[in-house]
């Protein structure tokens, strides 16, 4: 049976900067913890400890990154467990978050519907900041000024993981040097320049990044309730272990070379 947001006691995790690999591992660990009922449904706001290109589960490293520029600018490649496209990350330049929910929240929904549902609170938050944004199927949040965010989902162990990266202040010139954004990919976007694809939240809100995040948290709290929580030591331990044995390993990162 399908549940709704109000059926749960939502928890907020908002930690300091962590390494990209540890973020990948935390997403896997926390998804399974929520699915197993050991953790209440959770919203996690990320802070990045280092520059990274995060590629989707099914992407090929060589198709997505320019290895020379990657090294020149000090980026690492990490691979997440969900599908979708590459994200260009520099600390402080994006707003990244995850929602971990029991699968019952999206029971019977198409993937399309569940993407829109999982970000409905974010659209509401953006509206209070004066941004008229909408969900562009399959997995983008967009506004009149252009794309704001990309989402990805996967379902594991009875839970749904929905994570999103919003562009707050992306250095588009650097991004197109580090990412290979193919002509084929842009073929139905009607745009000539890859730079134009990312429209920063900063220019549209005029607010500091932390203020946008605070408004998102307030909005979630107003809609469904949200309690401040901390990572459990055993969750962090499991994630550190998984970062070391899976996410930092070539066998995983280059699973599709």
């Amino acid at each position: 049976m399908r549940t709704n947001w109000h059926d749960y006691d939502w928890q907020l995790l908002r930690d300091g900067p962590l390494s990209p690999n540890l973020h990948m591992a935390l997403d896997e660990v926390l998804t399974y913890e929520v699915g197993a009922g050991r953790r209440k449904p959770t919203v996690r706001i990320w802070e990045w400890g280092a520059p990274a290109v995060v590629i989707g589960r099914y992407q090929s490293v060589k198709n997505e990154v320019d290895p020379e520029n990657l090294g020149r600018y000090g980026f690492e490649v990490v691979r997440r467990i969900s599908g979708g496209g590459a994200m260009f990350i520099e600390p402080g330049n994006t707003i990244t978050y995850s929602v971990y929910a029991p699968q019952e929240l999206v029971a019977g929904m198409s993937f399309q519907e569940s993407y829109a549902l999982m970000d409905s609170w974010v659209l509401e938050a953006l509206k209070t900041l004066g941004i008229k944004a909408w969900y562009q199927p399959i997995n983008d949040i967009t506004s009149e000024g252009g794309k704001i965010a990309g989402a990805a989902q996967t379902r594991r162990g009875g839970a749904v993981l929905h994570h999103v990266t919003m562009a707050y202040d992306i250095d588009a010139a650097k991004m197109v040097q580090v990412l290979r954004i193919g002509r084929e990919k842009l073929s139905d976007k009607g745009q000539t320049s890859a730079q134009k694809r990312v429209d920063p939240l900063r220019s549209q809100t005029g607010l500091p990044r932390a203020a946008v995040i605070d408004r998102m948290i307030e909005t979630f709290d107003d809609l469904y309730g949200l309690n401040r929580d901390e990572l459990k030591p055993e969750e962090l331990e499991a994630a550190r272990n998984l970062a070391e044995t899976k996410f930092s390993r070539k066998e995983w990162i280059y699973i599709i070379p």
């Binding site: 979708g84 399959i138 379902r155 139905d188």
Partner: protein
């Protein structure tokens, strides 16, 4: 050999492959699509492996469709993979 196809309104499908004695080998499908479960990518690659390089789009798509009967493809399709395979073969 390398082929790419952007599903209209959907995701990019990339196919890398080689041809040996008239058949597809070392087939690797990739892209920014969504697919559940994650093992389904191996099912797709394995199904395409050994396919005659003369197969038409319909035959390739049918092969992928059978391999993904128990998978969920989001943002792409067996037909999209078939187009990318044909583009790789003509590259």
């Amino acid at each position: 050999m390398h082929g790419e196809y952007k599903t209209p309104g959907g995701k990019l499908v990339v196919v890398d492959l080689e041809v040996y004695t008239g058949r597809l080998t070392r087939v690797q499908v990739s892209g920014d699509f969504f697919l559940e479960p994650e093992e389904a990518l191996d099912w797709i690659n394995a199904a395409l492996e050994g396919l005659p390089a003369t197969s038409d789009e319909a035959e390739i798509a049918q092969t992928v469709r059978q391999a993904t009967a128990h998978a969920e493809m989001i943002g792409f399709s067996p037909e999209a993979i078939a187009v990318a395979v044909k583009r790789a073969l003509s590259s």
